[in-house]
């Protein structure tokens, strides 16, 4: 049945480990949503990705029901995967841990375009490049 959308809530939670504690509790509780139902469903759906931070978008409807979709992993995670590294730099900007190509940056920018609210692909690429530098990943062919 088509329902009237009230709002959308965007969160990031550790896979399989969401709890009613903040930010889930206050974010969903403000709309009267059944928090334990969300926590159970989120953890069930993300259990096989334990250790990852999972972005999730919850649609809240006028009759105070909800559904949610899991979004693409954060850009930093995609960059580390593209660079073939396990972890980013421990301290931002102090250590180089790997590199990606410009084509990989564009590919990630395309994947994350909607999530980033970027103005256009150039803006999205700039954000992905900045995220790469911050994670200790250089972009081949980029200045600096």
């Amino acid at each position: 049945m088509a329902k009237e959308l009230t709002t959308k809530i965007k969160l990031q939670c550790p896979a399989g480990q969401a709890t009613p504690a903040p930010p889930v509790g206050p974010a969903l509780g403000a709309h009267g949503l059944n928090i334990s139902d969300f926590v159970k469903q989120f953890n069930d759906r993300t259990r096989d990705q334990m250790g990852m931070i999972i972005p999730v978008e919850i649609s809240v409807y006028k009759d105070r029901t909800f559904d949610f979709i899991l979004k693409s992993p954060p850009a930093a995670v995609l960059l580390k995967k593209a660079a073939g590294v396990e972890k980013g730099a421990g301290e931002v900007g102090t250590q180089i841990v790997g590199s990606v190509t410009r084509a990989q940056v564009e590919e990630i920018a395309n994947i994350k375009m909607n999530d980033l609210n970027a103005r256009d692909l150039d803006h999205a690429c700039r954000i992905i490049e900045g995220t790469a530098r911050s994670s200790g990943i250089t972009v081949e062919g980029a200045e600096g």
């Binding site: 049945m1 088509a2 990031q12 903040p22 889930v24 009759d63």
Partner: protein
């Protein structure tokens, strides 16, 4: 900030809020993801609270009071201050950061406060944790609200629930196409149906429905299947009534299938028809061999009620 830990009652939390130029929210979330605060939420607290300044969005995380130290706050500030240089993005310089202590609250249960029983004719739909004294002749349907499935409050569900209580006779067999949470099936059983079959393409529907029937003491009368009309067997026929609280394009496509499953004179409630689809849906229902006796409209939704023509 980090006073003596309370021995009882809910934990106090500190909200950490950063106004972030659009596009950079994930990076800031990553910078905030220290051991004490791995989860973040984007945007304002709720509708009605102050929106983020133009061109920015809030990124918020939370620290339990006993972990909220000057050292942690300094680390958060330092990480945010380092972002402009580490990314080369000048707009990340001087990000507005706010720490705010929240009143203690038990978030696992506080969401329940806004849910109260509601009455619909002779039926009262009551959250299981609420005490409720039924009126004479009133039936209770216990339903945990606010979840992924319906709470009974959608206009189309309300219309079907009214038809169920007027049409179901003791011992009736009822088919519920698109049973969702199972609320209509369970209501039909509470009003005396001896055999109700619900089916839904949503894989969670059968599990919800089975639990709901059990919680309301009508598990013996209700069964649920996962799938579309293909899950029905040859034996699933001659029903006394049929419910379909479902998208109207499904009703249009399957009106004939619904008619084939009920006996002559059986009642029906077909719900969920938006205004722009009324003519098409009406024609499909009529063409399949149903007589529409009443149309119940609430907002932009119409529910058709009537009987199967011989």
């Amino acid at each position: 900030m980090n006073g003596p830990a309370a021995s009882t009652g809910p934990i106090r939390w500190t909200e950490v809020r950063v106004a972030v130029p659009l596009g950079w929210q994930e990076l800031v979330a990553d910078a905030l993801a220290l051991g004490a605060c791995t989860s973040v939420v984007f945007g304002r607290t709720s509708i009605g609270t102050e929106p983020a300044p133009e061109g920015t969005d809030y990124v918020r995380t939370f620290i339990a009071d006993h972990e909220d130290t000057n050292e942690l706050r300094a680390t958060i500030r330092a990480r945010l201050d380092g972002l402009a240089d580490s990314t080369g993005a000048d707009e990340l310089r001087g990000l507005a950061l706010r720490f705010q202590s929240l009143p203690p609250e038990d978030y696992a249960s506080s969401w329940r406060r806004s849910w109260r029983p509601f009455r619909l004719g002779r039926l009262a739909i009551v959250p299981p944790w609420r005490e409720y004294e039924p009126r004479p002749n009133e039936l209770l349907l216990l339903l945990e609200p606010g979840g992924a499935f319906g709470s009974g409050r959608h206009p189309t569900t309300r219309a079907c629930l009214r038809i169920v209580q007027e049409r179901v006779r003791p011992g009736a067999r009822v088919l519920d196409a698109g049973s969702g949470s199972g609320i209509l099936s369970v209501a039909a059983a509470l009003f005396g149906a001896s055999e109700v079959l619900g089916f839904d393409v949503d894989a969670n529907g059968a599990r919800y429905g089975t639990a709901l029937a059990r919680d309301n003491g009508v598990a013996d009368a209700c069964s649920f299947r996962t799938g579309d009309f293909g899950v029905l067997s040859q034996a699933d026929t001659e029903y006394h009534g049929v419910l379909a609280n479902i998208y109207s394009d499904v009703i249009v496509a399957h009106a004939g299938d619904l008619r084939a499953r009920v006996r002559d004179g059986a009642w029906f409630a077909f719900s969920g028809c938006p205004t722009h689809h009324l003519e098409t849906t009406r024609a499909a229902i009529d063409g399949a061999g149903f007589r529409i006796d009443q149309e119940h409209t609430r907002g932009r939704w119409t529910t058709f009620e009537g009987e199967a023509r011989p």
